[in-house]
Symmetry: D3
Subunit: 256 residues, 6 copies
Amino acid sequence: MYLAEEAWPDLETYFENESLALVPLGSTEQHGPHLPLATDHLIAEGFATAAADRTGFLRTPTIDIGVSPHHRQFSGTMWVDAPVFRDYVESFTRNLAYHGIDRVIYVNAHGGNVEHLREVGRRLHDDEDVYAIEWMWNDSIPDLVDELFEHNGPHGGPKETALIQHLQSELVHDDRLADARDGGFPEFEASDPTHHGARTFYDAIDNTDNGVFGDQTDATAEKGERMFEEATAQLVQLCNWLDDQPFADLLPKDHV
Amino acid sequence: MYLAEEAWPDLETYFENESLALVPLGSTEQHGPHLPLATDHLIAEGFATAAADRTGFLRTPTIDIGVSPHHRQFSGTMWVDAPVFRDYVESFTRNLAYHGIDRVIYVNAHGGNVEHLREVGRRLHDDEDVYAIEWMWNDSIPDLVDELFEHNGPHGGPKETALIQHLQSELVHDDRLADARDGGFPEFEASDPTHHGARTFYDAIDNTDNGVFGDQTDATAEKGERMFEEATAQLVQLCNWLDDQPFADLLPKDHV
Amino acid sequence: MYLAEEAWPDLETYFENESLALVPLGSTEQHGPHLPLATDHLIAEGFATAAADRTGFLRTPTIDIGVSPHHRQFSGTMWVDAPVFRDYVESFTRNLAYHGIDRVIYVNAHGGNVEHLREVGRRLHDDEDVYAIEWMWNDSIPDLVDELFEHNGPHGGPKETALIQHLQSELVHDDRLADARDGGFPEFEASDPTHHGARTFYDAIDNTDNGVFGDQTDATAEKGERMFEEATAQLVQLCNWLDDQPFADLLPKDHV
Amino acid sequence: MYLAEEAWPDLETYFENESLALVPLGSTEQHGPHLPLATDHLIAEGFATAAADRTGFLRTPTIDIGVSPHHRQFSGTMWVDAPVFRDYVESFTRNLAYHGIDRVIYVNAHGGNVEHLREVGRRLHDDEDVYAIEWMWNDSIPDLVDELFEHNGPHGGPKETALIQHLQSELVHDDRLADARDGGFPEFEASDPTHHGARTFYDAIDNTDNGVFGDQTDATAEKGERMFEEATAQLVQLCNWLDDQPFADLLPKDHV
Amino acid sequence: MYLAEEAWPDLETYFENESLALVPLGSTEQHGPHLPLATDHLIAEGFATAAADRTGFLRTPTIDIGVSPHHRQFSGTMWVDAPVFRDYVESFTRNLAYHGIDRVIYVNAHGGNVEHLREVGRRLHDDEDVYAIEWMWNDSIPDLVDELFEHNGPHGGPKETALIQHLQSELVHDDRLADARDGGFPEFEASDPTHHGARTFYDAIDNTDNGVFGDQTDATAEKGERMFEEATAQLVQLCNWLDDQPFADLLPKDHV
Amino acid sequence: MYLAEEAWPDLETYFENESLALVPLGSTEQHGPHLPLATDHLIAEGFATAAADRTGFLRTPTIDIGVSPHHRQFSGTMWVDAPVFRDYVESFTRNLAYHGIDRVIYVNAHGGNVEHLREVGRRLHDDEDVYAIEWMWNDSIPDLVDELFEHNGPHGGPKETALIQHLQSELVHDDRLADARDGGFPEFEASDPTHHGARTFYDAIDNTDNGVFGDQTDATAEKGERMFEEATAQLVQLCNWLDDQPFADLLPKDHV
């Protein structure tokens, strides 16, 4: 069920009987010459919608803008500063608790949000208000992702390309895939951009001229669909697992 | 042009030549038994999209969640606290300036956001970073709104109903319009809910049992379309007016 | 009773028996060539003092400086930034609660404070600590204000002029009333300073050269006295109404 | 000149020619059974007014509420939390700079404000915006204060009593002076309320039952007048000294 | 016992049986040409270690960096801004309470930390979480300090010199003592660096060219040892006194 | 050179000629039954000291307390909340810049600090004030670490054990190594403590009963020394590399 499309009386039963919500979060940031800036929030929304449909759990609207200052040199990248992002997510999550939600899955599709969502999750967890966890699709199917593509990459690579080809193919510039690869940093994952153990770069542009990593040319909508289905299945299982936990088991353990 | 659907190289020309952006903002909050919680953000997105299409100016993704604690007693209402909302809007607006945007129209459809958007606008204005102003559709066509409906109301009334009937009719429960009226506070605008000049209520529920004000039964998609077209025309003119101003004229005036 | 003139043992009985306090708030900002910068805080203090005298309720010292950045271009205007003002009012109001006060009337005479006082009131209300409401004299007698003057105005106009003529006539430059009118924006209330529904100005100086709106020339001390008496009567009634409410009735209503 | 009583055009000359302002700050807190809660802010206002009158420098409205949580157990004490107080003073001081003020004397009469005013002064000084210093009357005439009274005390003692007897005698309960002494801690200054070098108390009530220290019985309006005149003379000299400094000499010195 | 050198299981008994901790705090700031920047944190650590050894109470690691902007003009001085310092100390003190600590002695050796530690102590005290007090060695033995040296001084003078000669003599440049005196402000304590009662300086360099006050030439390790032993004895007594108090007696007293 | 042991005049040459500083940061948190809570800060200090000695660059005092709430259930763990830690590190780093430092290496030995140091580094980098990067010893010698031990672990495992055996062997309880292994989670790195891609735990105790991961029994001081030497060599190279960069090359790249 999608919270925003319902009238309030039609949500009463849900809040009486359930206590779990799915919150999709992404970013609006450059994803190379071939993918839309919406990439991450479309993916997050896609997974949250599918899991909500298949489980009956509630999903909220998508948070489209995330923590993306490291992509700012590329036109159109939007972002909010990290402390503000954390406070924003904390605020609406706490407020969901007013309706009886005590467990939340942040269906996240932007790597730059991960640490911030976990920090917010810790605040809520330590205060024993809400148990909120971050889920990112590719972490749920690492073997499949590795198997499908020659050269993955942390950003704008074939795995994201394939997902958008599956979810919203009209937004992919298929004719720019080779350019995306050639103008970017195709073998990033095999490389080591650190110096003597220190990460010395702060921005994507420090390592890639066009904003992307990996080789996009073996991405297909079919691969995207396969990843989407398998990761959705994982998310569905996570929903059910989380729903099954007694709330007491989700609270911080006592001092030894 | 919709920022999020573009790949970054396709935005370069815009930022080189233009300095205006439209940012839609709404809320996710109860709108009575007949309208979806999405009402305000759908309306904001509708106007921003239309104005962007007709003018060629850029619109960003929509901020779906606003300042709505006063509707929290009704199931599903989401909100962020006011200081967090202001900081969030300030952060992404300042960051838009990194790409060269120096004037922003907040295309707003939630009354509860108005004062906060103006406060953010003031911060940006006084710092001489960005000139950002708030626009709310019904303020641009007050006479038409008055003319079309018998009993308007500040929330969930016929004007919002008609707009959603026009924009996304499948989300309106047309069979609940009379109930919406009868269970709410139909003649709110003629009433005075204050005591001796003081506004003594804090929440919608203090004045209405089902969350709405006004008489929804004379709302129609045709009236919605008429309002939509006339207000969009106003927004288009505002875009053009704002685009025409020299930036120096938008800065704070000097000390007398 | 005026809190600041009492020795602490003389306040013990009050706090044992009563739980209401009046807090006057104004501004120190330009009010045109004819009125002192103190105008708003003198008015607020005048009403709070009169209501305290007539009801026996306690009034605190007056907060003289408010949220007035929009008048800064005129010499001498003082202000604090909005977030700081809110925190300041919140802090001393919460601390009044330590003595047993659970209901507060902000006797306000500066329009620029209204939204901030309501935001503070909401924080206190939602936390169920103190029920605090904002009262502004002219909102309690709108018909009389309209009846008395030809051209009102939101700032420095005849209604404020008449009140200061009544309260502290030596601070009014009666010989400058025509100049005030002619150098300002006499027919502001009939005009529309917005563009296509958007408020495009941020500062008073954007609309008025000398800082005032309205036609001051029909202001008299007699009209001031009449407004003062009628609005004080309203405030007295508000005090009594508020005092009569059981605290439980002032708390937020439950979730539907 | 008192800023708040002027109309803005009458301040223009001042800001064109001068850059110094006097800001009185006190507290609203218990001062024993014999003195009003207003004691500190009346004293601050008295000195600032006299110095402004004698020098022609500008004084602003008085900040009546300060940092007084240590007196909260006594009825009526008002306070704001320390971080909020600092931000409030910082905000209006920075804003005074907008009119050209670059040096400020905080005419302070509450010991609990001292460290906070110095911290604000440091912020402004280190930013090279405004040179603001704290002045407290009794620090300017320590020998006279010692000479006049047998048993002084940091709070509510004979020196404050004498000043209010001089400034506003109707607010002093002369018939309670002996009680004030006997119910308080008359010989505080000779005692040592610390333990092994540590200040172990947090509140006035930890050391005094009625809120005061010292022996009030030798206070007289004549002594008050003498202190007032001598300390005012010191403040006048401080104004003139500060006015004489080139602004560059008031800035932080360079790194060695 | 020193917390950091223990493995966690070896601390369990302590937290079961005791509720007091010693926290040493100093600064890293210039102390003239003859003393190391570590001076204050070495002294704090020395006292906390000795008192922990002699009483069996727990001491934590030392906070080496304090509030020292007033020494910044001299090379190497490190500092954190005052609001950040307060929040840092508050955060770790609250967290100590998680293990059962409800009383803390801040063993402080930097005058610039005093007011901030007391402000943090007040927050914790008023919230009734932890009773934390500040102790500074020289305040516990004022007579001895006065007796031992001709010309003390608030910073870098003979008393600090003697302590470091005792605690870590290899860090004292004994050959620079006369230079330290001659290049500094030897008779500071007898002088009055204020103007008409106002402290007009913000930085050490405003009063001393080499950063120190006092005459260091009569400092000796023997005097240092004597002060160290006597002040440690005071601290030991303070520990025992504090340990003996029922927690209820350490809480804020009730409203009168 | 160690900043804190120098007198200020002896640092002048350094700041005139150099612009790099090493800042060691660790934690004070449980490291199992065999290692001291100081483990991380001892390691950080060890590396920073060695690199400073071998290169001549300056090191500051060590920050002993970090972001460790996830270890709080084990006795003695100290921590500061993440936002406070970030502000603290930011504040002293900005202040180091006052002396001319424009590049900083955070010599970090606590995994829980990494993301926060990078966030602070970004703030400083984006503001173009200081280029600060985080270095963690084990990231500089991943192959060696893998080669030396059978079962590593992220916390309290053989690699940290070996380092403390090398650096401060008297603090290691060698007789508890087998217990540490058996009571903890020896094969953590091969396991997957997530659910369907989501990290569902917040605290160490969720996965380990005694606080450690890995098999400590093959740790030796010799292996510790070897790692120490090799990682120090990496850090020395990093210092030299960083020192060689023109500051302009360390600034954010321009917008594409």
